[in-house]
């Protein structure tokens, strides 16, 4: 294993045709003593290498549950079914041991809060070296340290050598998030999952983070799934955008299709609820709140909040239909 961060073409063991991430009919059910709740309800998508999927939706729509199911860190009372393959390898059929080794090297994750994702009692170097040596057992300490430095440079941390000796509390939020990202890509993952990576950061840092994600993702040619509330993030970063509601993808297409020519009333609502500087219109909130997952309405989950709803919306659970090239919507009225 060379010490530099290899770019595409170098050293991939899987056929180039295999997408970074392929998910089919993913269902996540949390089972408690007081009943089961279906947080993710039959989601399918594919993320090619070098491409970004942004998943948008309100809190509680199942976005985070989906990411956690993909990497496999749900509590043991969770039932996950469906196919999850990373670079052509099916994670679901792996032994727990293989699945664990796959974490970090096949699929890796960046959490929302960079503060709590770093252990306050160790230096950045110590935590990075630990992550690196887990994935490259042949490396000695000096090599791992060298590699840690390269990772920090890769995530564009200024005076990286000095930052290595710092404790997490000595770094700003943006710096910490960069370190977390560096740890996540230490194993050169095929696909990186990011759960609202910019929510805890301040606005000026957010834009830089977005650029950084783009750069890194091109540098190491991975697939990126980013969950966000922020349509701006989705527009800037994503090749494809999926809109999630009550555990399902209600609309999915290229970023341009979904964000400029939406075909689901929920997507329209999300865009209208967005505040944009220098714009005349006031943001319009979507009335009501997402339904409780254990009491979904009989037909379309969005029907109670939808201003276009007709009676059929209350009878039939809409299936997903194509409304354009690679653009799908699960609205009865969409055509």
């Amino acid at each position: 294993m060379s010490l530099t961060i290899e770019t595409r073409a170098a050293g991939t063991t899987t056929p180039a045709i295999a997408p970074a991430l392929r998910v089919r009919d993913l269902v996540t059910e949390f089972r408690g003593r007081y009943g089961a709740v279906r947080a993710v309800d039959g989601v399918s998508f594919t993320v090619p290498r070098g491409s970004v999927l942004a998943v948008i939706g309100e809190s509680g729509s199942g976005k985070s549950a989906m990411l956690r199911s993909i990497i496999g860190i749900n509590p043991p009372t969770t039932l996950v079914t469906g196919e999850i393959s990373v670079g052509g390898r099916d994670l679901q059929t792996m032994s727990p041991r293989d699945r664990r080794t796959a974490r970090g090297s096949d699929v890796s994750m960046v959490f929302q809060d960079p503060l709590t994702a770093l252990d306050p009692v160790y230096t950045v170097e110590k935590q990075l070296v630990e992550a690196i040596r887990k994935h490259h057992e042949g490396l000695d300490k000096a090599q791992a340290r060298q590699r840690a430095l390269e990772l920090l440079e890769l995530v564009r941390i200024p005076s990286a050598a000095a930052r290595l000796k710092a404790y997490p509390s000595e770094l700003s939020g943006g710096m910490r998030q960069r370190v977390v990202i560096a740890m996540a890509i230490a194993g050169r993952p095929t696909v990186l999952l990011a759960d609202e990576p910019t929510t805890a950061l301040d606005v000026t840092v957010q834009a830089r983070m977005m650029r950084l994600f783009r750069q890194i993702q091109r540098d190491i040619d991975m697939g990126l799934v980013i969950v966000t509330h922020d349509l701006g993030v989705a527009a800037e970063l994503a090749d494809e955008v999926a809109v999630m509601y009550a555990g399902r993808f209600v609309e999915h297409g290229t970023a341009t299709q979904v964000l400029t020519r939406p075909s689901h009333p929920y997507t329209e609502g999300l865009i209208e609820a967005n505040v944009r500087a220098g714009q005349d219109r006031r943001p319009n909130a979507i009335p009501g709140a997402p339904p409780s997952l254990d009491q979904l309405p009989p037909g379309c989950a969005f029907a109670p909040r939808c201003r276009y709803a007709v009676s059929a919306c209350w009878d039939v659970r809409p299936i997903t239909q194509l409304v354009g090239d690679g653009h799908s919507s699960s609205c009865l009225l969409a055509s």
């Binding site: 003593r33 007081y34 020519r261 209208e272 109670p304 276009y308 709803a309 009676s311 209350w314």
Partner: protein, 320 residues
């Protein structure tokens, strides 16, 4: 009549071909659905707790066992006609299940069932009262010093530490000896033994809670320290205290038993499970089944109470 909605971002033809009557029907069903949501009466805290407790089989069975033991102790005279204090020496050490003596007889020919039932009166009291008493006193001390810090907290907690430094049984003996024999004094002694550990648990839980933002929010909205302690801190501390205290019931019965063994607790021939266990100790090789009967009941009470309080704690936890 529900007007057609003009799409803002969706395709202009979106929703075309739907009729006003159809939209009216949808609006009606929405109102119906919303009404059904809001008419669901939120349950009160205790109702919800009870409902959740009832779904926990282990908890219900355990609570049932505790209840049976208590009822058995209360209604002992109705359940057996045998005298727990006077036995027939000729019937000594009958085995468990022998005719007339369901649980056998002890080394003096006294009916074990009667002794276990009557003994429950002493042992359950000796197990539960100090635990509950210590939980109340200890929580009060722990929460107070956790919130006050400063001189008050230091004095309270260092006093607790002093008591804590004695081995539990030694402290119980010291207190028991200075108070004199008898059930009441045993209960007082065991309570004093249990207060310091409970106070420690409560104090560390309090320290964890008081720095959280909801406590600050309560202060900001003008709540007095007492109110903060009662409404914000206590409910969050109770969890830890209940978990810890529920494990103390069995220990309390053992300590009470040790005290009576040393002649500091309830005096023989009064039946008391710990004392019975001790006096039958020598008979283990002669009548092993009989000898373990009192131990089994101590074990049963302790485990059942543990499981029941665990289930209660889980049912009380609104975060589920």
């Amino acid at each position: 009549m529900t007007e057609a909605v003009v799409p803002t971002l969706l395709d202009k033809s979106f929703g075309a071909g739907t009729t006003a009557a159809d939209r009216d029907e949808a609006a009606r069903r929405r109102d119906e659905w919303n009404a059904a949501r809001t008419s669901e009466q939120p349950q009160s805290f205790w109702q919800a707790t009870l409902r959740r407790f009832a779904t926990n089989k282990v908890g219900v069975v355990a609570a049932g066992i505790v209840l049976l033991l208590v009822l058995g102790a209360i209604f002992a005279p109705l359940l057996t006609s045998a005298d727990p204090l006077i036995g027939k020496p000729l019937d000594r050490l009958q085995n468990v299940g022998s005719p007339g003596h369901l649980l056998g007889t002890d080394e003096q020919g006294r009916d074990m069932l009667a002794r276990v039932l009557y003994g429950g009166r002493l042992s359950l009291l000796a197990g539960f009262v100090p635990t509950i008493g210590a939980a109340l006193i200890g929580t009060a001390i722990g929460v107070t010093s956790g919130i006050m810090r400063g001189a008050v907290g230091t004095v309270l907690m260092r006093t607790m530490d002093m008591l804590y430094a004695f081995p539990a049984i030694l402290l119980a003996i010291a207190v028991g000896a200075s108070l004199g024999p008898g059930l009441t004094n045993t209960i007082i002694a065991v309570t004093i033994v249990f207060v310091p550990p409970v106070a420690r648990v409560a104090e560390s839980a309090t320290r964890r809670v008081v720095v959280q933002e909801f406590v600050e929010a309560a202060r900001l909205s003008g709540a007095s320290t007492l109110r903060v302690a009662r409404t914000q801190v206590l409910p969050n501390v109770l969890n830890d205290v209940i978990v810890y205290a529920s494990g103390l019931v069995g220990v309390a019965m053992i300590i009470a038993a040790s005290l009576s063994f040393l002649g500091l607790g309830s005096a023989p021939p009064a039946p008391e499970w710990g004392y019975m266990l001790n006096s039958l100790r020598g008979m283990v090789s002669v009548a092993p089944l009989v000898a373990i009967v009192p131990g089994f009941f101590i074990f049963l009470t302790s485990v059942a109470f543990n499981l029941a309080s665990d289930a209660l704690r889980e049912a009380m936890d609104s975060r589920l």
